[in-house]
């Protein structure tokens, strides 16, 4: 059941005012956030003002959008005019953009109520939010576990009902993996479906602006409103007009689903069990399921890290202390100022990726690493093209594992890189993919199911996701945050 639709009806029938609704969320945040660390900044005044505007519209019997008055959150790398946007990095401390990101601007124009910025790994580099300068967010299912990352704060907030939905970013799984860890829905749209304008870049050819929400229908409602051509982003597709919501209830009988054996094999037992059970549900709903092999999904991981770090090394060069953000205090030359600013204010993970990216692009190593990675990416894209001639969608685990224990990743580096194994391919291929909960592991932590579609086929994957959600039954935390039980 769509939470947004339910709240919209409540607002329209004046069962609750937008202000009351917002206040409920704000007070829930105040009580739960100290434990969860999902929000890093709460925009109370701004939220109440937006809510008030909607209340006046309702009072004046004006038509309002489905998203009008609905409280939501933005990941800290989505630019908000006049409001701190720091990528949870020290280097952007105090930075207030002079413009709104397109995705946020579109939601704002629909009357969205922004509760505040949510936590993330520094510059979206990480899978636990533990690289955030604000410390890690916690998993609402068990606070000894991470919320995932990099959009971990957003996922934690949505899952704990501290926001109806959130806008995150997904470069290698940063929306889907935390959604999977926290038991909510996370959509990574096709590259070019949602404008990247105002999303602070990590890896430009992989970055996408995505949606996190409690259910598939809400995800579709939000996606439909942020997607579509933006002249400010040259890579956004000119002729795309989204209508995922209208497709949600289409019959899925006869849909062909491919399951890449490689990703099933590499998943933990608990994850594998839940995913196979989910696949059975699709079969029961009349889908044709076929297991197949696609080895390039495995080589995608190193290719992803090389490309992402290369682009990051270039994208993050601008943080030199000259125009915005923090600047080193004492220096004797311009060169030293830049060096000190960057050394003092970037975290270790960011420095590591900048150095790695600089290395793979440098003379003498370019062909060996960057060119090779690009080659693998082209190969992967060619294979995806063939695969989608055979299948309507691919179904995989979202992550081979469920949520990590806090600090677990720091102790075991390799494990964290593998956490992206199932998600990076969609970014390299520019494909849409959605993660939704399909069960829990033996510790009670959510397991995520990923559905990958062909380019601009958000309609189709959300349709499958919605049907699965109906068969699966209720999921989510009912005793946390703001709930309205009808």
């Amino acid at each position: 059941m769509s939470e947004i639709l339910k709240l919209h009806n409540m607002l329209c029938s004046k069962e609750i005012s937008a202000k009351e609704l917002t206040q409920k969320y704000l007070s829930a945040i105040k009580s739960l956030n100290p434990d969860l660390n999902a929000y890093i900044k709460i925009s109370e005044d701004e939220a109440l003002i937006s809510a008030d505007i909607i209340d006046r519209k309702i009072a004046g019997s004006e038509d309002i959008d489905l998203l009008s008055g609905i409280p939501m959150t933005l990941k800290d790398n989505i630019s908000t005019k006049g409001n701190d946007t720091t990528c949870c990095s020290k280097i952007l401390e105090g930075y207030k953009p002079i413009y709104d990101a397109t995705a946020w601007q579109r939601l704002k124009s629909k009357g969205a109520v922004h509760l505040g910025k949510t936590n993330m790994d520094e510059f979206a580099m990480g899978c636990t939010t533990e690289t955030s300068v604000y410390g890690s967010s916690k998993n609402p299912y068990n606070k000894n576990f991470v919320a995932g990352g990099s959009s971990g704060g957003t996922a934690s907030a949505v899952s704990a009902n501290l926001a109806v939905y959130g806008i995150g970013s997904d470069t290698g799984g940063s929306v889907r993996q935390p959604a999977s860890f926290c038991g909510c829905v996370g959509l990574k749209p096709t590259y070019g479906a949602v404008s990247r304008y105002g999303l602070i870049a990590y890896a430009s050819s992989l970055d996408t602006v995505g949606v996190l929400a409690g259910n598939v229908a809400d995800t579709a409602v939000v996606f439909d409103r942020i997607a579509g051509f933006d002249p400010m982003d040259s890579t956004s597709r000119p002729d795309f007009s989204p209508c995922a919501f209208d497709f949600l209830d289409k019959d899925i009988k006869g849909r062909k689903i491919g399951v890449p054996q490689e990703l099933i094999d590499r998943a933990d037992e608990d994850v594998k069990y839940q995913v196979l059970k989910a696949i059975k549900i699709f079969e029961d709903m009349g889908c044709v399921v076929e297991f197949f092999s696609m080895p390039s999904l495995i080589t995608a991981l190193p290719a992803y890290y090389i490309i992402a770090c290369a682009e990051a090394s270039s994208n993050l060069g601008r943080y030199d202390g000259v125009r915005y953000g923090l600047k080193a205090e004492c220096f004797e030359s311009i060169h030293q100022m830049i060096c000190k600013t960057r050394s003092e204010n970037f975290g270790d993970e960011v420095k590591k990726r900048i150095m790695l990216g600089t290395f793979v692009l440098s003379e003498g190593y370019y062909d060996k690493y960057y060119a090779k990675a690009q080659h693998l990416r082209q190969e992967l894209k060619a294979q995806f093209k063939k695969v989608f001639e055979r299948y309507d969608a691919l179904v995989t685990p979202t992550s081979p594992k469920t949520a990590f224990r806090l600090c677990e990743v720091e102790e075991n580096k390799e494990g964290s890189f593998n956490a992206d194994l199932c998600t990076v391919s969609a970014n390299l291929g520019g494909l849409p993919a959605v993660s939704l909960p399909c069960g829990k592991d033996s510790r009670g932590l959510p397991v995520g199911l990923q559905i990958i579609g062909d380019k601009f086929m958000e309609n189709r994957i959300l349709n499958l996701a919605k049907k699965f959600e109906e068969s699966r039954g209720e999921f989510g935390l009912k005793d946390m945050g703001v709930r309205f039980d009808v």
Binding site: S79, S314, R318, D320, R323, I334, E363
Partner: protein, 466 residues
Amino acid sequence: MYKLTSGFETHVELKTNTKIFCSCSNGFGSAPNTKCCPVCIGLPGALPRLNKQVVEFAVKAGLALNCKINNLSYMDRKNYSYPDLPKAYQISQFDVPLCYDGFVELSDGKKIGITRIHIEEDAGKLIHNDEDILIDYNRAGVPLIEIVSEPNIESVEEAKEFAEKLQLIMRYTGVSDCKMQEGSMRCDVNISVSESESLGTRTEIKNMNSIANIRKAMEYEVKRQTEILKSGGKVIQETLGFDEKSGTTYSMRTKEDANDYRFFREPDLLPIHISHEDIEKIRRTIPELPHKKLKRYVADFGIDKKDAELLVKYPRVASFFEEAAYGIKSSKKVANFILGVIFAFLKSETLKEEFDLKISPESLRELVLLTDSGKLNVSKAKLTLEQMLLSGKRAEELLNDDDLRGFDDDSLLSLCQKAIEVNPKTVADYKGGKDKAIMALVGFVMRESKGRADAGKAKEKLIEII
């Protein structure tokens, strides 16, 4: 015998309405940081969008320099860190430029090859101010083309002519003002000297801001390198600056501290596709270029090559000339008025370049037609033109009926007789062998006729009578 080999890398600012990746206006001279936006100062999350006019201008420049055009080219990132470069990378073109394989033909028929032309963005400007360093980002994102020549320039003379031709062709196409003193054209000159067929080690002199300096710097550098080689030394591959005051070059950096630019495709922009139709459409917008104009002026108008070169040297002069000479038999006379009277009036190069006159080409045409019809003699016409240039008035507004009546032979005869009667001493001087004395008599006739008499005719008549 040491032989010089040189190649040019020339940056030309394009005169598009807006910057290359944003809609900020593109123009010289505004208060610092007033022509900036999130895109051109590289704010986090801002994205570039390619200005179509930049591509059109660059293709136009390429076609005018006889280049081939790539139907598919790419933008790339050139990474380096400097405070005037807001994103810490310059968006440029690396391996697949927009234009390639062209040439500039020198007056002796030699062709200097153009290896490639690519489009890129300019950086901001550092302003050193006592203790602080300030930055003006107005220039950040101004569109540039970089024109890379083949290293087949073999003398300082060739280099000078190449730079002049390049500048002139760019001005004719209208893609740039190419004002070197304002930095809208900047040349990096590569130089090596060698005794043998194989090339010597080259040095690069950066950012030359006038053709005169290119010449001085090259002459100095050739001498410097030759002396090193003669004394058995080795030229170091390095980047040099040119010090105008001392007329010498100095080292800025050596090859060892050269940047590794880590080029890679710009992921924020799409590849540039240009169809054959688009290229042809742009080709049709290229006006007649200077070398063709020159030939035509000499062949069709009978203008001396030297004069024709002067007219062609300034695109605005050429177009003024052509309009003024339209439908007139005596194009040569029009050229003489421009090169004589108007050029004397516009003293500096800049004034000639701008050619901002109060009179229209039609006014000059009217004046020339008056002399053609015999109503006005040439010397009076020249005086009139001077007044026209000052006042902006038309010839007929400045001349009265008397002026326009012309001056018949009888009147000339009687004035000449009067001159001889009134100036017996001068006549005696002339007869005594002082040839120049006749001019004093001519002057008398001119004064008496208020300039309406023809000086040439008066001189003839006076000699005849005496």
